[in-house]
Amino acid sequence: MIYFDNAATTFVKPRSVHYAVNRAMRNYGANPGRSGHSLALAASSVVYECRCKVAKFFGCPKEENVVFTLNGTMSLNMAIKGVAKKGSHFIISCLEHNAVARPVDTLKRRGIIEYDVAKVYNSDEETVESFKKLIKSNTKAIVCTHVSNVFGNVLPIEKIGQLARESGITFIVDAAQSAGILNIDMKKMNIDILCMPAHKGLFAPMGLGIMLCSSSLPLETLIEGGTGSASSSLVQPDFMPDRFESGTVNLPAIAGLDAGVEFINSVGIKNIFNHEQRMVRYMYDEFSKLDGIELYTPRPKLPGFAPLLSFNIAEVGSDKVAQLLDEENIAVRAGLHCAYLAHSHYGTIGTGTVRLSPSLFNTVDEAKNVVRIVKKIKKYLS
């Protein structure tokens, strides 16, 4: 099997992640932050160490501002709904995943907020300008993805962050596709809240998300409950991370995340990016030579594009192509990728796209095989 569906979740994971998860399950699988016995305290220490590592990795000023959630979607819902105030205005980009678009649209349908969608261009200046034009006196937040999960566009986060900072607007970033692939520095990029799943570029198991806050923002809570702290009060704690961490955290996944971040640090994020980009560029260049292969973006390279690639075989549904690839033992994702806005922007709502997303654990030879099989499928379908 050639696994080119790493934008959905990375597979394979580093061995060190397997070992860390296994150690947590076997050696200290107690509930962190609840009981007082030595195993529970050992577990809480592992969680704390991971907070420190994640905070440092993303330039978050305090480790206690690292909140562990269930997944990236939950992190985004907590951030968006936590910031929203009745009568406020939001701006999102035209490339958002439904994890951003749906909560924002839900708030609109409930009569709580209004929102506008900023167009993304190949030029950073034009993109920033399109956000700027939409700012109103009641604009409360800009929410945008760092990297499109369908087309790989890298948004000029630092510049949009600067615009948000200058305008006194909360800046929320969805780093689902960029965490572990591109450098992210919350301070430098003026990011107020950074959200992501841990199971993609950070190599942790599924069932863990992260929300990092640059400061102790006055966010409303989405979920309340037991935090192992201030238990004699019915009022949800007002301090981080407890305010946003009701219920037991996913200790084995957090142990895996710790190992995943350590692994990325040891390999080097730039090396990971370059390796993935080499494969994507090879496939892009080969597809460019073929009639009847539709590509939607310029040749992927920084700063504009991250290493994932969407394509179609002309007049064939993306699901059909993905099915034929699967029969050749190649795993990809087809369809709309939970990104209605992005497909609307590129005019691919009707067909969806076939998305190729290699990881560090793939090889250029595998990319060559994928190209060979796509050629074979194209010939078979013509």
Binding site: L41, C52, A230, S232
Partner: protein, 74 residues
């Protein structure tokens, strides 16, 4: 530690306090307690130091805590 204890309201800050104090060369042990004051909390046992020094380090690190005479909340 002068017969006094540091009490901290959450496990994250207890671990942070332990980490900060360890960086300053102190051996620290965390104990969970269920006080009648504000529910669950953690007591820090810090070896070979005085309370003033510990308090100074924790304040610099912006960790919320209280100093308590009682180290036996069990």
């Amino acid at each position: 530690m002068d017969g006094k204890c540091i009490r901290i309201g959450s496990v994250t800050y207890a671990n942070k306090a332990k980490s900060v104090l360890k960086e300053n060369g102190f051996r620290v042990h965390i104990r969970k307690t269920s006080s009648d004051i504000d529910g669950c909390s953690y007591l820090l046992e810090v070896e070979k130091t005085n309370i003033e020094k510990t308090v100074e380090i924790l304040r610099k690190s912006e960790i919320k805590f209280t100093v308590t005479e009682r180290c036996d909340y069990f």
